[in-house]
Symmetry: C2
Subunit: 292 residues, 2 copies
Amino acid sequence: MNQKINHLTEEINQLLATSIEESLLDTNLEESMRYSLNAGGKRIRPVLLLLTLDMLSNDYKLGFSSALGLEMIHTYSLIHDDLPAMDDDDYRRGKLTNHKVFGEWKAILAGDALLTKAFDVIINDTTLDDAIKVKLIRRLSFSSGHLGMVGGQTLDMQSEGSAIDLTTLEQIHNAKTGALLKFAVMAAVDIAEPETLVATALEQYSEHLGLMFQIKDDLLDIYGDEQKLGKAVGSDIENDKSTYVSLLGRSGAEDKLAYHTQAAHQCLAQLPDHYNTENLEAIIQLFNNRES
Amino acid sequence: MNQKINHLTEEINQLLATSIEESLLDTNLEESMRYSLNAGGKRIRPVLLLLTLDMLSNDYKLGFSSALGLEMIHTYSLIHDDLPAMDDDDYRRGKLTNHKVFGEWKAILAGDALLTKAFDVIINDTTLDDAIKVKLIRRLSFSSGHLGMVGGQTLDMQSEGSAIDLTTLEQIHNAKTGALLKFAVMAAVDIAEPETLVATALEQYSEHLGLMFQIKDDLLDIYGDEQKLGKAVGSDIENDKSTYVSLLGRSGAEDKLAYHTQAAHQCLAQLPDHYNTENLEAIIQLFNNRES
């Protein structure tokens, strides 16, 4: 991983660690929120946001609040997805899931509170103009709500155990995973306000990244290394889920991954020469080569 | 109920009925969101918001988006509170609860989506300036998150089955119920921007209303009429919950209700003469005399 990515990941981890202020109420709700927020994810989404902003402007720190809010949304979605009524997972990233540590009702509330806090952290950013905050909140509520992530999760849950076609599979992933990855890139666009051509190329770049992410996920779930993944492989087959591999076969899925990898590179090639695309190229490599 | 309140309730119901746009994804998530949103609540919070704004300005319609967002937050909290892992209620307002109709996982997601939509509806209001939207979102995220409603719900759940003192009881209700009632009044203040004296008096008014609401709730849960309430009485005793009645006795609770009723009136009496406080007085009566 390149040094810039390491550095940003570290910065995000530090900011997340102090992002949930203690309430005066005598509960451990905040401990539960922090447990999942600081459980050591890869921080792909906030890193992508900051790298994009770093390329577009001279102050990537203007993206901190959006990066934190985005990771809070991602984290709340994992807490709720892991619940007994949803995927019923006991472990995530090698650690007990939130409800296994804090109990089911508190995990529901910790998720609700993190979702709410995501909007709070952006709206209270003192470094951004009101007009930019409004654009960011508009984009975040759209990306993470019933027309975005939650809608995708619903279609995914509903499709378990039934055969779906490739169109439906892409609908699921564009909404469930793609919407937040697109937010990462486009939040940087909202803040830096580059010309339309740049915004369009970056939006397409984010869409290809989203599909790469999911195709790779499906490949790793069958052909990955359990030790590197930190979880058992084969869960999609066990849960009778349609995936890129089940619909296209291994080589079909690999071809599709290669296609979107190439297309993502082409999007960056369209950007004016004065943009240094090195780090966004590194993200493509990271998505393509990741083993966990 | 006065005519103005009836009229506003009707307007809110109509706006709520069309507030959730259909997704392109083939799920019934939106149906689940609408089911609870249109289940016929009393709309006390949005009505209070619009009445306050109507008194302060000549355009109460500027409060529509906040009123809708507020009711969405209230509705999501009910959906999640009713879940098996929380209060495990099968009925609400005489209708099956969301998870009894749509299943548990969809109820969780419908709640998540309504919470997210609350921010979406305010940020996309084309009648408000960005600066006002920022104030409203800041207030809503604070009021409904871990420092407000969700924190109060956590302390409430945690306190079930154990004896708590009056201080803790008020902490619970100030956060769980009071925060959203305060939002209702103070969102109108954010929009109309009256002088500080007015803002302060209205904030105190909303705090007394919040306590009135909860004391009345506790009294109705023991001495109310089951038919008018639309639910069984005695649930607090059954759940071994400390209430104003269990801590102060019936007459102690009634005295406290009378105290806050009087104090709420006094707050309105502090307002400059050109404000017509008639409808906000009516709200005090409504809170004091309600039978459901």
